[in-house]
């Protein structure tokens, strides 16, 4: 079987970051949208694979890291690494909430 993951199209018509959550009108922060985080992360993984990179992790904001930890108490209790899309999460305060970045080998 040949090597796959050589290119990616996330959509020529993809709506860009237009849907990235903003704060609510009342000043309260919007609830975290993991659906958006994962979609953005997945696009970056495919892009990296398209450049023949080996992706070994995902850098995410503290808010995302905390949300994943909160959702997976059993994995945290057992000392498993926190993962998204099969990739270990690396917390990085410099990363925007909706701008996860791949970590390549």
């Amino acid at each position: 079987m040949s090597e796959r993951r050589t290119s990616v199209t996330t959509g020529a018509a993809a709506p860009g970051d237009g849907s990235r959550p903003r704060s609510r009108g009342d000043g309260a922060p919007s609830p975290l949208r993991l659906a958006v985080v994962i979609d953005e992360a997945c696009a970056r993984v495919w892009e990296a694979w398209g450049q023949a990179a080996t992706v070994v992790g995902l850098r995410v904001s503290p808010a995302v890291y905390e949300a994943v930890a909160l959702a997976r108490p059993k994995e945290v209790q057992r000392g498993y690494p926190l993962m998204l899309l099969g990739l270990e999460l690396v917390v990085d305060a410099a990363v925007g909430t909706y701008e996860p970045a791949v970590v390549c080998a």
């Binding site: 796959r4 199209t9 959509g11 849907s19 609830p31 993991l34």
Partner: protein, 461 residues
């Protein structure tokens, strides 16, 4: 993976829920026309999006779709009499027209009440063997989506509905998930395109086992509809047409937004031919309908309530070599004790697994009845409402990831007073298609489905 809040938003469909408000902004396939076959036939109770309705066909053949409970004292109109251009409640005899107009109030005659109040009614259309309703705010109906098969006469279209005891999103996600096809459905592939395959370290001989799937008279244990290529590829049979020419269970996934939602390609290596690739294009029409590669029809997943849904297949009736219609194919191979097309048998019971056949390697999944049974078994096994906090998606799940984002983005738009995504204003839905093809490696998959192109779903918020 979703947050608990996102999962709730995605799954709950009642009239006061965020997703319920989104789904009500699209035309919804709600019932089968064959359940209301003639004027003044018995009415039917319809449960959709967490509400109950009554559908009936009046003396003039017009369809009515009303709130189920009589606006007088709340008796079910599904118990009512359909007569003389209306439906009459059994309790006190109030009678309603298809548009909800109160025609008679025997226990309050000569009142102006009936001129001022109506039984809530909803727009209803007949198309593709289905009754479609619009449950959104009056005056917000989008254009009605007419697909290539929408206007076929009843004898040329087949509708098959299976009611599943799980949340609709579990089934919807399965309908657009290509990477499971070469795994979960190995037993189906072994009938239509026999031959050895692998799943990880498991080696599957791929001899036909689920023989009920084969057309009557073609129950060749070596597979049906195949061309024998002995001497050309080591004796492997190949189905006429594309078949399933790949052992690649890690397809590359490419997704594009479209005016109707999105379409995506699952791109696989072709066994023994590095210059080719096997492409399956699936088109998803928000929010219910998927056009699956290799099928001429479509599959629609419609929530009945939060914990049950209808999986509806609509397909043009194929014809045999002599031009005779071949009906009944959609339920072929399914044990009649677990499901049937009649209204009282549409709720699926998952059949037992044949563990002996699995252990012996004759079957991969152990479920007879083909893809629909295999799909339903795993989707219902996730529970009534799957907790997506616990899942570990992988990049091959990109279409599922995109589906969730598109729906949740629509929630946000509707909350902001905007229309949801994928209404396809001005788009010609009759040109929409899926595709399954082996092509040269340099071929663009979008060229296989030229009718899907158009102005994409707009940027969201």
């Amino acid at each position: 993976m979703l947050t608990a809040e996102e999962n709730e938003t995605l799954c709950r469909v009642g009239p006061d829920t965020p997703m319920g408000k989104v789904l009500r902004r699209y035309w919804t396939p709600a019932f089968q026309l064959k359940d209301l076959p003639e004027p003044d036939c018995p009415p039917i109770r319809v449960t959709v999006l967490g509400e109950s309705f009554v559908a009936f066909r009046d003396t003039e053949g017009r369809l009515g779709f009303l709130d189920e409970l009589c606006c007088h004292r709340g008796a079910s109109l599904a118990l009512g009499r359909v007569e003389d251009c209306g439906i009459r409640c059994l309790y006190h005899g109030w009678k309603y027209a298809v548009d909800g107009t109160i025609l008679e109030m025997p226990n309050f005659p000569n009142s102006t009440f009936k001129d001022r109040v109506k039984q809530p009614s909803y727009p209803v259309r007949e198309s593709g063997g289905l009754g479609w309703v619009y449950l959104g705010p009056p005056g917000t109906e989008p254009p009605f989506p007419r697909f290539a098969w929408s206007d076929l006469p009843p004898d040329e279209i087949e509708v098959s509905e299976m009611i599943l005891d799980c949340n609709w999103m579990q089934v919807q996600e399965g309908s657009i998930d290509s990477s499971h096809v070469g795994i979960l459905h190995l037993d189906t592939l072994a009938v239509s395109d026999p031959g050895p395959r692998t799943v990880g370290s498991f080696k599957f001989a791929g001899e036909p086992w689920d023989l009920g799937l084969a057309p009557p008279g073609e129950r060749d244990p070596r597979g049906f509809g195949v061309e024998r290529l002995e001497g050309k590829d080591g004796g492997r049979a190949r189905r006429r047409g594309v078949g399933w020419p790949s052992n690649d269970n890690g397809p590359r996934i490419e997704v594009e937004y479209t005016p109707f939602g999105f379409h995506y390609a699952a791109i696989r290596d072709v066994d023994g031919d590095p210059g080719k690739k096997y492409i399956r294009v699936t088109a998803f029409v928000v929010p219910y309908t998927a056009f699956i590669a290799g099928s001429t029809g479509a599959i629609m997943v419609v929530p009945r309530d939060d914990e049950t849904c209808s999986s509806i297949i609509v397909s043009p009736v194929p014809r045999d070599a002599e031009g005779r219609p071949m009906r009944g194919l959609l339920g072929r191979g399914i044990d009649p004790s677990v499901w049937g097309p009649e209204p009282e048998r549409r709720r699926l019971r998952i059949p037992p697994q044949d563990r002996e056949a699995m252990a012996a390697g004759r079957s991969f999944a152990g479920f007879r009845g083909g893809n629909r049974i295999q799909d339903a078994a795993v989707q219902m096994s996730e529970g009534k409402i799957y907790d997506r906090r616990k899942e570990h998606l992988v990049p091959a799940d990109l279409a599922i990831i995109r589906l969730r984002r598109l729906l949740l983005d629509s929630v946000k738009l509707v909350e902001e007073g905007k229309p949801p995504l994928g209404l396809g204003e001005g788009f010609d839905f009759t040109r929409l298609s899926a595709a399954s093809a082996v092509v040269d490696a340099g071929t663009r998959w979008q060229d296989l489905v030229p009718g899907n192109q158009g102005r994409p779903a707009e940027a969201r918020s």
